[in-house]
Point group: C2
Chain length 304, copies 2
């Protein structure tokens, strides 16, 4: 049993600054860290930390960042046989400045220069033993192909919809669980009400649709009802990757066969814990950390 993921991976530099720099200034950082990031890659790292086997497909360049991304995923125990290296290309990079006071987060990023994964590059080996497919929709062609292939094979699909992108509507129609950022629904014209969310979610097609709204929690539409799960209040240092860790926790609950509400509560706890650390992947918690966090709040995790 393995969870297969397909999408973006990148190498992030995270810095903590007292205040966001003024243009033309020189600002000394309070902290400087580097680690992997990217929606699909981070969701798999979260899932691997929770104890599940994962396999990742994506692309990197043959630069130093590509090596760091690959080694980082391998060190988490993730099978990177589907992670291809594009010769002469640059990997995706991001420089993230988090303000100590004020908490504003500013990202300067570089698009990967290599070709995205093509459908032909999703080999048979990628599917071997796959119990779930997770897609962040960032490589349109390969994602759509992967979703169709997963349906054909009877493998359930989760789609992380960060915003409305080409192919995202079709991808939403192919998946079982659409777990979207608020921006995706705003792109659809959402007015922010629960009723409007229900109407939009029902129109998208998947049996379960969740929208995450940061510290305002999440809404999940399933079986004709909508449930709101509040976010756990924590003293967040950095919210980078919190949504991706939420996806990892969500996948974990689904694979364990937990009820959807418990699954979302678990995902929220994992995401909250991830905000206590700088960066997307550093703070992704282990299962015992999430269980303890929930137990401290009188919530018991369904037997794993």
């Amino acid at each position: 049993m393995v969870v297969t993921g397909l999408g973006q991976c990148c190498w992030d530099t995270l810095t903590e600054v007292g205040e966001f720099p003024l243009p033309d200034s020189k600002t000394e950082t309070l902290r400087w860290e580097e680690q992997g990031g990217g929606p699909a890659a981070t969701a798999l790292v979260a899932l691997a930390r929770l104890g599940l086997r994962c396999r990742f497909a994506g692309v990197v360049g043959d630069d130093a960042a590509g090596t760091l991304i690959r080694n980082g995923l391998s060190q988490e125990g993730i099978d990177v046989s589907g992670l291809l290296t594009r010769p002469g290309a640059a990997s995706q990079r991001a420089f993230i400045m988090v303000e100590r006071t004020g908490g504003r987060r500013t990202i300067v990023w570089q698009r990967p220069t290599g070709a995205p994964l093509s459908p032909a590059e999703l080999e048979e080996q990628f599917w071997s033993g796959s119990a779930f497919l997770h897609l962040d929709g960032l490589m349109e062609e390969a994602s759509l192909h992967g979703a169709r292939e997963a349906r054909r094979r009877g493998i359930p699909i989760m789609v992380d919809a960060g915003r409305m992108r080409p192919g995202m509507r079709e991808l939403a129609g192919l998946c079982d669980y659409l777990v979207a950022a608020e921006q995706f629904f705003l792109d659809l014209g959402w007015n922010g009400s629960e009723e409007h969310f229900a109407r939009l979610a029902d129109g998208l097609g998947p049996p379960a649709v969740t929208v995450t709204r940061g510290d305002r929690g999440s809404l999940t539409r399933h079986g004709g009802t909508t449930c709101h799960v509040p976010a756990f209040p924590v003293a967040a240092l950095d919210t980078t990757g919190a949504g991706d860790v939420f996806h990892g926790g969500y996948l974990f609950g689904l694979i364990k066969g937990w009820p959807l509400r418990e699954t979302v509560v678990f995902a929220s706890a994992a995401a909250a814990l991830s905000c206590l650390h700088l960066g997307a992947q550093r703070g992704a918690p282990r299962l015992d950390e999430v269980s303890r966090f929930l137990a401290d709040r009188g919530i018991s995790v369904p037997s794993a």
Copy 2:
């Protein structure tokens, strides 16, 4: 014959952005490059490109950046036997955002976490065959020790004074050529006039004192007279490291025994050429590039 340099080296990430990012925004870069930087290290890279043998002493951490710094200097043919690695420490890093329009340059940087070079770590081997010592004054104790040791051995000394720092006045008094950034003289209370510069320069002690002022050229005080050398107008992409390349060109002229004015003109040409590329070291020109640049402007380089 080798030029020995002691001071700072770092690993720079340089990005070109359309406009300086707003706080809390996500900005895609137009370009993303990584390369070595740091005043003393960049001056030596410039000198090595011009064809001279160089030896560098400084510190890096045992992180990925430290390896990249060391390899970068080695690839330029610089002897890095004096570059020490501090276990468990982070190397100096900088993230530099250059605006395509407007040209503002914003730096977010990390101080190295390892101990600076100590006087005891400047071993005999560092001095072997040394014809000139270049100091950027960024490791106070080792720099002062190095300057005294060079005087004892009769090795001429250039000091790059970026700003007024502890020990900088003493270091200025020990050197033969003080080549300072404008900020250093502003820190001394300079009112910007040639007369006041002459008075301040004469009070510092070194036989030759130069102040560089970016695209407004430089002033040099020597033998009781002050000479102004204009900057060469170029379509600058990025001025990072231009002052350091100026030091490299200056050292080259001195070692070749050229008159001081010709030396400064040559240094100005090297610095101007370096501004055509992103980053401190990428644009440091080779001797034939500087000669051609000067010849195109009707200036011939003294026989090298």
